[in-house]
Symmetry: C2
Subunit: 199 residues, 2 copies
DNA sequence: CCCTTATAGCTTACGATGTAAATTTATTTC
DNA sequence: GAAATAAATTTACATCGTAAGCTATAAGGG
């Protein structure tokens, strides 16, 4: 027990704990994510995490923020992998769905609306905004390229709502498994046609 | 304590308990919905509900099924209020959003993907299907009227994903409050244009 | 070098929750 | 009325998040 925790010590512990939480979420479901289990995973007593986090909600907020960061990275990678607003839109949407389907627990936690006062966790808000920005940046390009017509924010929200809706139906088991990939393709095609400049 | 509970006694108790649960959800949030609180609302001891429900999940499933029924009714009313596939689509979508915004707790519970094995509760599944059917029935009409072109199921899912996505963004506080109404209008217009027969 | 002091971590303890098990109460049947 | 039985209550327990107090270590001052 070193007398003082350096900042990297703190950051280290927080990171290890978040990893443990993500592991428990993924492998044993949300109910397995208890303070006692988390502590056990780190080989530490149940109260120790309280030195590094305010409370359990604080831990979950950190996990969610982590999720949004990885999410944003996945989207940014997709965005950089192709050229042309149309292709970027499809690629980002595809990456979106892929992330959600291969990290269902993370995705569910990230967008769980039963989670408390998001406003209390600025890191979480920032990570969310970063993901959102990438997700809709291509709309701006599409508008510039004359592929779309209308309000930037509104069109961005339309695409976001569409992917998110498709993914959620999938995760809720209301589609043939993995069907959100195809559903998104249909939505993307229809929306893109729907917001084309009048002809 | 009559020796034997008639079926209407049972149905009655179940209904009163569901009402209490909905009230608690709406007025004091999900955390207030505990077995002890529910029992107190009915003026009964904490274990009594177990004579009428398997466990708490069973109660929540009943509340969700109730929600879907009221939801389906709202949609069916909207569907019957206008004529023409296009108008029906808009009206049903509008009713959808209105229901979600004026019953946010019910809506959140109904579509909460952290809720357990939906398959165990056939009533719930049936109520959900009824809502879904109304929601997408107008697509069939639109196809017949030649307003749309494509796969019935797929187009139905597209509209469903779109409304649901819009509503969820709203309930999660990611839109100007009530913005899902306008967002849905944009989505509806764009999707309708997007699935029009080629011209 | 030892003693004080601050602190990271641990132990214990409490109130709340869902619910199993035992117990009481009230009605029906003989 | 007495016995039987089903409804309801009471009691009890494991588990949860976490408050409070305690222990043991490392840093700093004489």
């Amino acid at each position: 027990m070193p007398r003082v925790l350096s900042e990297t010590d703190v950051a280290d512990f927080r990171e290890r704990l978040c990893e443990a939480a993500e592991r428990l979420f993924a492998e044993r479901g949300p109910d397995a994510v208890t303070m006692r289990q988390l502590a056990a995973e780190l080989g530490v007593s149940p109260m120790t995490p309280y030195r590094y986090f305010e409370d359990k909600d604080d831990i979950l907020a950190a996990v969610r923020a982590n999720g949004f960061s990885r999410f944003a990275e996945a989207l940014e990678t997709a965005r950089a992998s192709v050229v042309g607003a149309r292709a970027v839109g499809s690629a980002v949407g595809k990456a979106y769905v892929e992330f959600a389907l291969s990290n269902p627990h993370a995705y569910k936690l990230m967008f769980d609306f039963n989670q408390p006062n998001t406003e209390k966790y600025p890191e979480l808000v920032a990570a969310g905004l970063r993901a959102r920005k990438t997700m809709t940046a291509h709309v701006e390009d599409a508008l510039k390229e004359g592929l779309m017509e209308g309000d930037l924010q509104q069109i961005g929200l339309m695409f976001w709502a569409a992917v998110h809706g498709a993914v959620i139906l999938d995760l809720a088991g209301m589609l043939p498994p993995g069907g959100s990939q195809q559903l998104f393709q249909s939505l993307d095609a229809a929306l893109t046609r729907g917001v084309r400049p009048q002809d």
